[in-house]
Structure formats: C-alpha cells, structure tokens
C-alpha cells in the first residue's frame, strides 16, 4: 500500500455510476465529503459518520461500504455506485425505487439512499429472499420516519418482481 503525504492533495480517479470522474482529496478526506462536496453527488447522505445509521451506504467495486468510514483516496481506481446511478433514465424510476414510491416506504427520504443501495445490491445477490433475510439486511439501516414496515413491503414486492412475478397493483401503505 502506498503512503500518501498527509498535507498534500491527491488526485482520485474513479468510475462513478459507470462514468469516469475525478477530484482532489487530502488523505484524511472521507468518501462522503468527497462525493458530496468535491464531485457534487449529494444523493449519498451523512447521518452519523460512525458507520451505524447506514445512510451513506454505497457500492465500491461490487461490495457495499459505508462511505463515511471510507477515505476518498481508497476509491482511487475503483468503480463506485451511488443512488444517482439507480434509475434507468433521468425521467424513469427503477423497479426498486418504484416499489418504494408505491408503498410509501419513505417519508423524509434522508436515509433512503443507503437503504436503496443495500437492497439493490442484495436483490442482485439473493434473487428470491425470504422476509427474514431482507429484515436481516435492513438491520444495518436506521429510519426514523416509516417504522420500517413499508420498506420491508417494498423490498419484498421488488424482489418478487425481479423474480418475474407480476407487479402488485398497489398496496395502500
């Protein structure tokens, strides 16, 4: 592992949501601050800066990570996915996002980005999860608005759709 002088800025080049991007960071700069304030990708949110709340969860080289416990310089050369990369097109919602909207699985929307990232990754790895498996995954996220039930419901609906079952028409809350 290379050593980086603490008092210098270092170029960080990464693939962000499939597109090349770069910025400068001191070695101590957190990935959250880099994404949000250096790159301008403010969809990743900061809730606790100690790895508990899960709001800042992103995908780095195919693995989930807390961006608040990651240094920006660590992602140099990596592929990073954030909530901005989830929708198939700027005017379309992805399947998971649509399930969240249908089920009122968000209120303030602050914790949502991290939850979407975890679920998006998880549903690709585990195509037909049990509710308990989804519950286990979601214990890594804190939400203060919804009481979790609609999030769980949205996740299960999205999982069913991804597994090829027809979308549910609508469930009221």
């Amino acid at each position: 592992m290379s050593r980086l002088p603490a008092d210098q800025h270092h170029a960080v080049r990464l693939m962000l949501n499939g597109k090349p991007c770069s910025g400068d960071a001191e070695p101590r700069m957190l990935l959250t601050d880099f994404l949000r304030h250096e790159i301008g990708a403010t969809g990743t949110h900061v809730g606790c800066e100690h790895g508990v709340c899960g709001a800042c969860t992103v995908e780095i080289d195919g693995k989930l990570a807390r961006a608040c416990l990651t240094l920006a310089v660590q992602v140099d050369g990596c592929a990073v996915r954030t909530v901005e990369g989830l929708a198939p097109a700027p005017d379309r919602l992805g399947l998971l996002q649509a399930a969240f909207k249908r089920n009122h699985a968000l209120q303030c929307g602050f914790c949502t980005a991290g939850i979407l990232m975890s679920l998006d990754h998880f549903l690709r790895e585990v195509p037909k999860p049990s509710e308990q498996e989804v519950r286990d995954l979601l214990t890594g996220h804190l939400c203060r608005c919804t009481g979790y039930t609609p999030i769980l419901r949205a996740a299960m609906e999205a999982a069913a759709e991804l597994a090829g079952e027809p979308a549910k028409e609508k469930s009221d809350a």
Binding site: T42, H45, G47, L106, G109, G147, D172
Partner: protein, 1006 residues
C-alpha cells in the same frame, strides 16, 4: 387541452388514482409528489445546497464538564493554525449579540455559548471558523481552555433541594417557576373518596433523533445591517422574534430561509435556533458567509431533547374505579437553560391533564427546574408522553389495587359520547369524539379476547405475559397562548394577551392558468406537498399533478406568522384547511368570471375535470386555465367587483383558541384526537427481554386526508415510541457526563425490533377545522410508551416500572438488586450501575526485577516516558510531582491529554499512593490508586494495586462501551514495555491490569 404528463414514468405499475372519476382526491392514498426526487438522490437537503464562494466553515469546542467555571481560554495556537480565520468564545458572542429571551420572568441570561461558566456537557465554549470543516476541527483541538469544575446536579428531584448546586443566580435555587392551580373542589373530593391511590414516576430523557443533523449557513451584510440565514429550522416562527432580538436587528433585517427538503425533525430542529445566533455572529465577525453542519456526537450530546420529568400523581377514587379528583405534582427538568419556547413542554398539556377522562376536580403544582443537562425543546409528543406515562400508569394501578379490570376502569372514566364539545376541568375544549365506540371497535377488531386467551395460555406455561392498555387524547394545533399559563393572571395582564394559531396559505395563478400553492408549514418528510395538491385540486376540479406546491419559507418574502412552522400536528387540521379556504376564495371569484363568460348564474358554475362550466348544461364550459389566466391578460374582462384572481393569501386562526382566563383555564389546543391502544407482551424469563406479541392502535383523528400518510405517521410515531419504551435514553452519569454519544450507545430500534402494529381507524370530524381533520403525528409517542409499560408491569407483576424497559432494569425488579461483586477482583475495570462511570480495579502482577528496581523505574521520568504508550514526554516538577503529555486512543477517539500526577504516602520501596488528573480535548479523567510491592521467592517483585478512576467528556460519551476493552489494550502495551525495561518477566494472571493504574497516573484519561 392536450393531456401532458409531468414527472416521472415508473418502471412498473403506478400508484393508485381515484377509484371513481369525480370523487374527491382528498381521502385517496395517491402517490407522493415528493418521492421521485428523493428516490433518485436529487433531494435538496441543508448540506446539499451550494454556498457562496468564500464561505467559511465552523466547528465548536464544547465543554467536557457538566458544570465548570471557565478560568481561561487561549486561542493563540488555534488562530495560527492553517486556514483559520477566527476563533470566538463566549465574551465575543456576548459583544456581538444579546441574550436569548428566557421563558419565565427572572433576572437570568441565556447565551447560546458558555459565558464564564459551562452548565452542561457539550455546551459550546468556542467556535473556530476556517476555510473548510477539517481545518476548523483542527483548530478546535488547539484551543486551550482551563476549567474550575463545580459540583453538578442532574436529577430534577435533587435540583430542588436546598443543598443542590445552583446553576443560575437569578432563579430561586434551581426552580425557574413554581405555580399551583386548583380547578373544581379537589379537597372535598379527596376528603370524601373511599380510596386514595398514588404513583411516583420519572419520565426519562429521550429524543426522536432525525437522521439529518442541524445545519446553518449565515451571512451578514454590514451595508444593510442585515442577516441572511438558511437553516433546517422547522418553526415555530415565534422563534424568529427571539433570533432577531438576539442578533440586535429588527425582524425585517433577519431573513430566515429553509431548504426544500428536511431529513426529519419530529420537533427537534426547532432546537437549531441558538446555533443560528452563533453562526450569524461568526459571519458578522469574519465578514464572510459561515456554514456549520452538526455532527452526530454534537447532535446526541447537545442539540435538544425532550424534558425528563418527575411526577407524583394522586387520585381520589370511588369503589368502582371512578376517578373523582387528581392531584398532580410535576417537576419539569428543562436542562441548563430555559430556552424558548420552554417551559412549553409542561404547559402544552395543561388543558389535558385529565386525559380522556371526565374528572372535574383537579389540583396541580408545576415546578420547572434547571439541571446540568442539555437544554430541552420540541420533540414529538411534546409533554404528552410525560403526562400519560403518569396518568395511564396510575389508571392501571387503580385497577390492580381495587381488583378491577383495567379496561373497565378506563371505560368508567371516559368522557361520554354525548358530552362533546366537552370542556375539561383545566379548560381544554375537547372538540369531538366517541371514545366508547373507539374502545369497543378497537377491542373487537384488534382481537382483545384472543389476546387474553394467549395470556392465559402463556401464564399456564409459566411464561411472563402481560397486557397493557392506554386511552389518550391527542391534542393538536397549539394555542400560542398556552405557554402564558406559566405566568400568574396578574403577570399576564401586564404582558398583554397571547393566543391563537395563525395558519397561512397562498394560492397563485400564473399567466397560463396553472396553480401554485405556498404554505408556511416547513414539512420534514410528512408529504405536505402531496396533500395540499389533493386539497386544492378538489376545489378547482383539477388533478393533483396540475398543482405545484412550495413549502420552503423565506421570511423576507412569504406570508407567515409566529405560529407558522411544522409542530403541534397542525398541518392537516390548520394548514391544509387554510389552503382550502384560500383556494375557495379564488374559486369564488373565478365562479363569477366564468358565470359572466358563460352567460349563466354564479351558483350554476362547477369546476369539473379541468373545466369551469354550467351544472345545468355541461356542454357550456371553458377550460380552467383560460378562465384562471384571464385576470392576467384582460383584467377589464372581469366582472365588476371581482378584483383579481391572481393570488390569494389566507390567514386563519380558530376563534376557540383564546388566552388563559382569570381562573387559569386554558384551551391549550384546538383539536383532540383519540387513541385507544392495547398490546400483549412477553418478557423472557431468562434474558428479561421484552417482546411485543401484538400491538393494536385505534385512532380517531377526524377526517383522514391521505390514509397511507396517516398510517405512515402512526407507524413512524409507534417505532419512535417503542424506542422510548424499550431502548432509548439520553443517559447521564452522576457528575453530568453524557454517556450515550453514539448510535451504538443511544439505541434506535431497527427493523428487527419494530413489529408491525395493527392500525385501526374511525373518523369523527372536528367541528372546528375547515376539513374536519385533526392532528395524528404525535399520538403514539404519547400512548405507546405507557401502553408497553403497563403490559410489562402486568407481565412481571411489578408495581413500578422505569423507562426504558431494558433487561437490566427489569432484573432489579424481578430479581432484586445485583449482589456486590466478590471482594477481591482482578479485572481491570468495572462500570457500575446507575450511571456511575467510576472505573475500579484491583489486582496483582509479577515482574523479574526486584522491588527497588521497580520503585526506581516508577519515579524515573525517562523510564516512564519510554513505558507509557503514546507518551510525548514526562516532566518532573518535583520528586513527587510529574507532568506528562500523552496521546491515547479509545475506540474511535484518539486525542492528546495533559496529565498531572502526584505521589504521596511514600513507603519506599514498598508502597505509594498516586493521585492524578488528565485533561484534553476529548475529555478528562482523574483517579487515585495505591500500589504495594512485595518480593517473590525467586527474586522478582509482586505488584499489588487498587485504583479508582473517573472519566468524563467526549470519551465518556462515545467510548463508554469501549472503556474496558480499550483499557486492557493500553495496559497491555504498558506492561510489555515495562517488562522489557525491567529485564523481562511475564504477567501473572490479571497482570495486564497493573498498568491501568500507571495509565491513570501518567497517561491520564483513558
């Protein structure tokens, strides 16, 4: 008009629209207009918004002590740090601002930063302003503050005692207010009642802790002598007057704006206001815009919390369980300062101290005290959890003591269905309801009979299963005048009347006839924009997607009043209704315009499907946008007297909300929803963990505007209340150290802990609100903690239970106090019960060196400097006085400490007592230990030690769980080094702990 769709396509089925065209949008669970933006990362939260080039960033130095005089502050090193522009402390803030107003009449000042004395852990002591946040935080570490620690008081019952340390000289002791009230004839009721049943409870400190923290960007323009502030403040905007006064400008020179999105608040973001003053002052001092985003430790330690309250409640009770009179004695703990709007938490429920019950005789003593804890403020439930925890625990106790069914006791006392509007003894006007019906339906639809059978079966198997009940009235739309009940009638006469609940809404129509709505309500995730689009769409015969709603506030441009903001569950009953009234005013004028255009009468005009037309002849119609835009394009074409139809602002305040009267009767809130909850819980016999088997919550919040959002409010409130019942407490040590500074210490329930409640509804519209709706957001925070507590009390057969119902507390009830540890222990640290963070230990170690060699090492600064991990040097002040400078890491916090160590009772080379203290940016520690050296048969030395040490400051807040483990690691490093220095040797069992003591002496705090 061609159909045009705005907004996002969804990948799959879209949310449900109206089942029947022509039926109202209000009452339908339409998809939220907020969601597409939030789900794609395009939200604009406080910290997402760009700032002016050159904006500086602020970081705070905060007091590690609960109560201490500030002896000196040296900012010179911090000021010379790279990128630092200014460092301001209390005296600077005092020079730039005026004291915040205090909620009671007393000669007390309330500064947003410690001036001369710090009164709670986390109180701002200085602010560093630098080029970026990292450099500002660097500078904070370099500010050198010397404190003189004072004794602290953290318990409200202790705070009123004459011997308690006093926080403010201007209050009588620590009592900021002491008022007694009497309604009806409580003395006679108590004298004649066959039973007198009482309960003493303490409601703990907790908070709804939004995931987004506070944020402020402030700028000052000396040319205008005006401030421009962007903050994720939520109201009430009565605080705007507090702010402008503190910043010494008229209100029109303080422009306060809010961002488009807010990451949750639940009341808590009202508490950002002292920071608005500080950041604005920093902007004035530096001549540059200044930004500050709070971190989680700051938020948990020092943002704001609900009040903790000590209550003694006595009921005069008839044989059948009827409550004839209540006698309340409430001691409200508002923390170190009485910040606006406190003591509102205590008085918000003043009209509702009889709950859902018909109790005519009432005696109240309300004391408001200050303690060495974070000042309190708005928090979901606001006074309700505190009141109902006492009242509904008492109702359960009445049932137990009189051997009655708790549900029968509730039923016998409820306000009767034909009594509405019902005026309570203390003056609240309960607007509408049918509590008996709610109980009946709740019990039936929620399966109470089955739950009782489950309890019976579980108990037959020897399991601890209980059922709890609650009936609560949920007040909403606060009367701005209720807080003046803290004043005597004479003081109120002098101050002038305060009352009302002004809500504001503006409807605007642009030149192409599209409709915009603005309200002064500042939502924090509730979906106000969606509901307002439904309400206004119904008035104009449009679709919700035709209506654009803006809920940001800009006090320089928008219509607002002191009651504006998002609190007291006022959106659905007050704000949404006001939007309806504003839309109806424009619709009334448009009706006249349309009638003249369509050659018909005004009352023949209807707004249907995007058109305005004749009811009698539906073909005679014109598009809404054409009629709506006419006022822009051709004012002359409007009929006489219509004026314009471009913009309408309505201010609405309900006439029922009058000021407190001469008898201290106060209609504290406009609307009163009703909640009946019951639940079955099982307490595990081994772990004493509480599991919710079923939770049923029956709500009557009047007319429901959006069923999914109402259920969302109920579920969200329930989850937070579950946290308050089972997990959450802002815990303080006896010395005022704050112990729950991370989300691993302050435990929020996750999806694994929150069951799905069964939610039931009935709708009894409020006669006092435009839409018939009442507030619903706060109810479960009032009903659920006590409902779960009642169930747990039923399960374990306890008379008293304490929140949060963590297994350790239940263990004390079920199994009695934990026995003292064995007299001789070798473990290094031990966290005691009751918030005592003293670390105590005793043990032995063996090294190969002889006693004299070890002794010499202990007194040699060079050896010590080599042995102590992270030591930057040991200075020998005298033969028995050392000063050390060390860097130590505990869990996530690594910091530098100054340590002073003194030796006494020297008995060379056999024994010595060491007394030490250490202080640094991350906290402080002090301790004392006795070490004795004895020979081993093979020429080595046995070292026996005992010690006791205390730790406070940041490290106690966030490292509490880690102290044991971290101590062992550090001690291990000590030991390896010392053994190496002493010519080898292995630790005896427990030997690692030997250096816990050395660490105390030389390394200082953990």
């Amino acid at each position: 008009m061609p159909e045009k769709r705005y907004g996002m396509v969804e990948a799959t089925s879209s949310a449900k629209g109206r089942p029947d065209p022509g039926s109202p949008w209000v009452g339908q669970s339409i998809a939220r207009v907020e969601d597409a933006t939030l789900l794609t990362g395009r939200g604009r939260f406080m910290d997402d918004i760009g700032v002016h080039p050159g904006t500086l960033h602020a970081a705070f130095l905060r007091s590690p002590h609960a109560h201490a005089d500030i002896v000196s502050i040296d900012v010179s090193q911090a000021m010379s740090s790279r990128g630092v522009v200014a460092v301001l402390h209390g005296e600077d803030i005092k020079a730039l601002t005026s004291s915040l107003v205090v909620g009671v009449k007393a000669p007390v000042e309330c500064w947003p930063m410690a001036v001369g004395r710090a009164r709670y852990v986390g109180e701002p002591v200085a602010i560093a302003v630098a080029a970026d946040r990292y450099r500002a935080e660097d500078a904070v570490d370099l500010i050198d503050v010397r404190y003189n620690v004072r004794p602290a008081v953290v318990d409200p019952r202790a705070a009123v005692k004459p011997e308690a340390p006093v926080l403010h000289d201007g209050f009588g002791g620590n009592v900021a207010s002491d008022r007694s009230f009497r309604y009806g004839d409580p003395e006679s009721a108590f004298a004649s009642a066959p039973h007198r049943i009482s309960i003493d409870v303490s409601y703990p400190r907790n908070s709804c802790t939004p995931i987004e923290t506070y944020g402020v960007v402030a700028d000052y323009n000396p040319g205008d002598d005006a401030y421009d502030v962007l903050a994720n403040f939520q109201g009430p905007f009565s605080i705007h007057a507090v702010l402008s006064r503190a910043l010494r400008v008229p209100g029109n020179r303080l422009r306060l704006r809010t961002p488009p999105d807010s990451g949750g608040s639940f009341g808590v973001k009202q508490g950002v206001f002292p920071y608005i003053v500080l950041i604005a002052a920093a902007a004035k001092a530096t001549g540059r815009p200044v930004k500050w985003i709070e971190d989680r430790l700051e938020h948990l330690t020092a943002s704001v919390s609900a009040t903790n309250r000590a209550v003694s409640l006595v009921a005069a009770v008839a044989e059948d369980g009827r409550i004839l009179a209540l006698d309340w004695d409430q001691i409200e703990d508002c923390g170190a300062h009485l910040r606006a709007p406190e003591p509102a938490t205590l008085y918000r429920m003043h009209g509702n101290l009889t709950g859902a019950y018909d109790i005519r005789h009432l005696k109240i003593r309300n004391r408001v005290v200050v303690t060495n804890k974070t000042p309190t403020g708005l928090n979901r439930g606001f006074g309700g959890p505190q009141v109902y925890f006492a009242l509904e625990r008492l109702v359960q106790r009445i049932a137990v003591e009189l051997n009655l069914d708790p549900l029968d006791v509730i039923t016998r006392n409820l306000v009767l269905a034909d009594a509405f509007p019902y005026k309570t003894a203390s003056g609240a006007l309960l607007d509408s309801g049918n509590y008996q019906e709610a109980l009946r339906r709740g019990a039936q639809e929620g399966g109470l009979a089955e739950l009782k059978a489950r309890r019976q079966a579980a108990r037959a198997e020897g399991r601890l299963y209980g059922i709890g009940y609650t009936a609560v009235v949920e007040p909403s739309v606060s009367n701005m005048g209720y807080i003046t009940t803290v004043l005597t009638p004479a003081e109120r006469r002098k101050a002038g009347p305060k009352n009302g609940a002004q809500a504001t809404a503006t409807i605007a129509i642009d030149p192409v006839g599209s409709v915009s709505v603005h309200v002064a309500s500042v939502p924090q995730g509730q979906g106000h924009r969606t509901v307002l689009s439904q309400v206004v769409a119904d008035v104009f015969g449009l679709k919700p997607s035709d209506i654009r709603v803006n809920t940001e506030i800009d006090t320089a441009k928008d219509a607002w009043s002191i009651a504006s903001g998002n609190y007291a569950s006022r959106f659905a009953p007050a704000v949404a209704g006001t939007a309806k009234l504003a839309a109806e005013r424009i619709a009334g004028r448009l009706r006249r315009v349309a009638a003249s255009q369509l050659n018909t009468e005004t009352d023949d005009i209807a707004f249907v499907d995007g058109h305005v037309g004749s009811k009698r002849n539906p073909d005679n119609r014109i598009s809404f946008s054409r009629i709506a835009a006419l006022s822009h394009w051709s004012p002359a074409a409007l009929p006489d007297g219509v004026g314009h139809t471009i913009r309408e602002t309505v201010f609405w305040t309900p006439p029922e909300l009058t000021a407190p009267d001469e008898d201290d009767q106060i209609n504290s809130s406009l609307c009163h929803g009703f909640i009946f909850d019951f639940c079955g819980v099982e307490v595990d016999r081994t772990t004493l963990q509480t599991r919710i088997d079923r939770y049923v919550t029956m709500h009557d919040c009047g007319t429901i505007l959006h069923p999914a959002m109402v259920d969302g409010q109920v579920r969200g409130g329930f989850a937070q209340a579950l946290g308050a019942a089972l997990y959450e407490e802002y815990a303080y040590a006896e010395d005022g150290s704050f112990l729950t500074g991370t989300l691993a210490d302050y435990l929020l329930p996750t999806v694994a802990e929150v069951p799905t409640p069964i939610i039931l509804h009935m709708e009894t519209p409020s006669p006092f609100t435009p839409l018939g709706s009442k507030g619903v957001g706060e109810g479960n925070c009032m009903s659920t903690p006590v409902c779960i507590a009642n169930a747990v009390a039923d399960a374990i057969g306890a008379k008293d239970v304490v929140l949060p119902l963590v297994p350790a507390k239940l263990a004390e009830i079920v199994r009695g106090a934990e026995p003292a540890p064995p007299a001789r222990r070798t473990s290094s640290t031990q966290a005691k019960r009751g918030g005592d963070r003293k670390l105590r230990g005793e043990g032995e170690a063996v090294v190969k060196a002889n006693a004299q060699q070890v002794w010499d090492m202990l007194l040699d600064p060079n050896t010590l400097a080599a042995v102590i991990p992270g030591c930057h040097g040991v200075e020998k002040i005298s033969g028995t006085h050392f000063r050390a400078d060390v860097t130590l890491g505990i869990g996530p916090v690594k910091g530098r400490y100054r340590a002073e160590v003194k030796l006494s009772d020297l008995d060379p080379p056999k024994a010595v007592t060491l007394t030490g203290s250490a202080e640094g940016g991350l906290g402080f520690g002090n301790g004392e230990g006795r070490i004795t050296l004895g020979p081993t048969p093979d020429g080595g030395t046995t070292i026996h030690y005992t010690y006791e040490a205390g730790i406070g400051g940041k490290v106690a807040s966030i490292g509490g769980r880690l102290l044991d483990g971290a101590t062992r690691v550090i001690i291990g490093q000590f030991f390896v080094s010392l053994a190496r220095q002493a010519g080898g040797g292995e630790p005896a069992s427990g030997g690692l702990s030997w250096f816990a003591r050395l660490r105390r002496w030389f390394g200082g705090a953990p």
